[in-house]
Symmetry: C2
Subunit: 391 residues, 2 copies
């Protein structure tokens, strides 16, 4: 398979046929290189991770699930190093090409999975989302993507980052495929009844670039028409920045615990900014973590209060479309922090979120996100399907 | 040239004949890959440094000097990444073999230069010493090595790290060759008159492992016999740890200024501990730097007071012989900090220092160092030559 979009990890091809006559038969999928595929190294986006860890002998749960349902695996995709990154630039393997936004990043850390689906190389692809790693590339590449309710999807055989935030997600180009795959992954039929109330997260819309918020208005109107009852509210009364800061405390501190033994044993090669993030995580104090956990508790309560059964929330997935590739480090850090502000509620609270192709700004895609209460993943997929049918 | 000791950087061979009939004709030398050699990339021990910087069109001053004197260049040697390292393990190019201490590190950052000279692959080799990068590998590989008076040797064409501490040094296996090369590099004949007074740095000897200090006693006796008048004193009345801490403030803060633009532009791949060191340097406050500069001022005054003309100081070059290769990161950090304590006075004060093969501990070499007042480099070389003749 020629890899003109640089979506796949180097090495021997990975091709495993799905079970015949399954619900996903005929579909092809790729798996982010954090998911174990028996007999193939799990690279984790870093050459030393593969060198320093054994080749898995079993498939990860998610890969097994899709193969059992009939989808065929066609490759393992590039990820930001050990999933620590949000723009999708990997210093070792390069940047997967975002065919929807030439010269722009694909978003990360599920960069290759999003790039492959966007380019039509496969029908769906597995990603992971700890702090935005499915939602952000879905937004930047104009795809459907889901971050499921935390804890709902089995993460066995998936390289962890920050377990209290880690989730397994997936991408598709169209709502029908997205719904088919979601049915299998969630183990639940996609509802035909829709939510009754839509809340517009005014703080999140105000945080986005004005042009992005403006461009999303037609999609917002469609959602309003579809759902009927509409309200406006602040998602994070204490501030999305406070939530982001709490997530940026909990997640790197946990990531340090995840990678500490590897770092200590192997002193791996890493891009400077990845090493900096890991080291910063190692320096977070117990007291800071404690305050962040209290913010998390409050945020979870806020989401339960805001999102009773039948209510969904909508917000821009990202504050702007995909930035240019090769930005200097400080500029990229500023962009990253803004992106993480709009995505932090996911890892912090664990609610499910679906990003749908929302609009284009100067031809560049940007996602609209819908968020529901805990366990309402299938409802969000149903909304994505329904709103796509109204186009 | 087969490189069984992994001393040389990968790539096309670098062979440049020296000028015929020079004072060093017949000698071969290698240059640490921080020194420019016209037409060859300066790798700096990191694959992204070479990628991100132009191929030099002129030789560095030090390479030119040796070629002009008749020595022939036979290769460029592995260094710790951008000279940030003291044990000589490079995550990209591997660890040069220390033939004098199998299974042990060669010391760094001038690791390949020391390894090549120790193995007899060349007669002498250029290194750099900012915080110990010539003295430490000289100690670990059983070589003669010099850190000249700061500012004495032209550093044109040498990749800088922390300019207020950077020096160009060199190694040799025997005192005769060391003296020949030193004459050329220093541009000064090696004196025949020796110093009149030797001070034993009791704080430094006490800081070394007891077995190392004990093993160095016979060499200390030789020095005492050679020089005649002997005293004991404390090198750093405020503590060698205070000096080391000041150096570990000034040096990483300056290194950050040196590499900041490269990091910002290229986000290079680095071993975790190298990235951590650079990032730590970026976080040092103005106020900390200010206090460290005051300690430096006091330390320079101390050296002027302690080392009037005709007086030299001696101390163990390192607190122990070469540690094992592949130590876990935290153990390596502890070793590094102790090594830097005994070496910090060099970068902090700028006095010249020569390390001579001092003893072996369980068969592993360890260096004895002699330190003199500013500009007394040739006198120290003369002492090295004289003491070697007394064996």
């Amino acid at each position: 398979m020629p890899d003109e979009i640089n979506a796949f990890v180097p090495g021997p091809p990975v091709h495993i046929a799905g079970r015949p006559d399954g619900p996903l038969s005929g579909l092809t999928f790729a798996a982010k290189d954090l998911f174990d595929v028996a007999g193939h190294p799990t690279g984790g986006g870093n050459p030393d991770w593969a060198n320093d860890n054994p080749v898995p002998t079993r498939h990860s749960w998610a890969v097994e699930r899709l193969l059992d349902a009939g989808a065929s695996l066609i490759g393992k995709t590039i990820t930001d190093e050990v999933s620590l990154g949000i723009v999708g630039e990997n210093a070792f393997y390069g940047t997967p090409v975002n065919v929807r936004a030439p010269g722009r990043v694909p978003g990360g850390s599920s960069s290759g999975s999003a790039a492959a689906v966007a380019a039509g190389v496969c029908d769906t692809a597995l990603g992971t989302d700890t702090g935005g790693s499915v939602r952000v590339p879905a937004s930047f590449c104009g795809l459907y993507g889901i971050r499921p309710t935390h804890g709902r999807i089995d993460v066995r055989g998936m390289l962890p980052q920050a377990p209290s935030s880690d989730t397994t997600g997936w991408f598709a180009r169209d709502a029908q495929t997205f719904a088919r795959v979601s049915t299998v992954m969630l183990g639940e039929a996609i509802a035909t009844t829709l939510p009754e109330r839509l809340i517009v997260a005014v703080d999140a819309f105000a945080f986005a670039d004005p042009e992005a918020a403006e461009a999303l208005q037609p999609m917002l109107e469609k959602l309003k028409t579809l759902i009927g009852e509409v309200g406006e509210d602040i998602m994070a009364p204490g501030g999305i920045v406070q939530w982001a800061r709490a997530q940026r405390t909990i997640q790197p501190a946990e990531a340090w615990l995840t990678f500490r033994d590897w770092i200590e044993r192997c002193n791996p090669r890493l891009a400077y900014n990845v090493a900096r993030n890991i080291y910063t995580g190692s320096q977070i104090s117990e007291s800071e973590r404690h305050w962040a956990e209290l913010v998390r508790r409050e945020a979870r309560g806020r989401m339960r209060h805001l999102l009773p059964p039948g209510t969904i929330l909508c917000l821009p997935t990202t504050p702007f479309p995909a930035p240019k590739t090769g930005e200097p480090l400080s500029a990229a850090s500023v962009q990253r922090d803004r992106i993480l502000c709009l995505a932090a509620h996911g890892g912090l609270t664990g609610v499910p979120q679906v990003s749908i192709p929302g609009a284009t700004v100067d031809g560049l895609p940007i996602g609209m996100s819908i968020v529901g209460g805990y366990g309402t993943d299938a409802t969000l997929v149903a909304v994505a399907k329904a709103v796509s049918a109204t186009r």
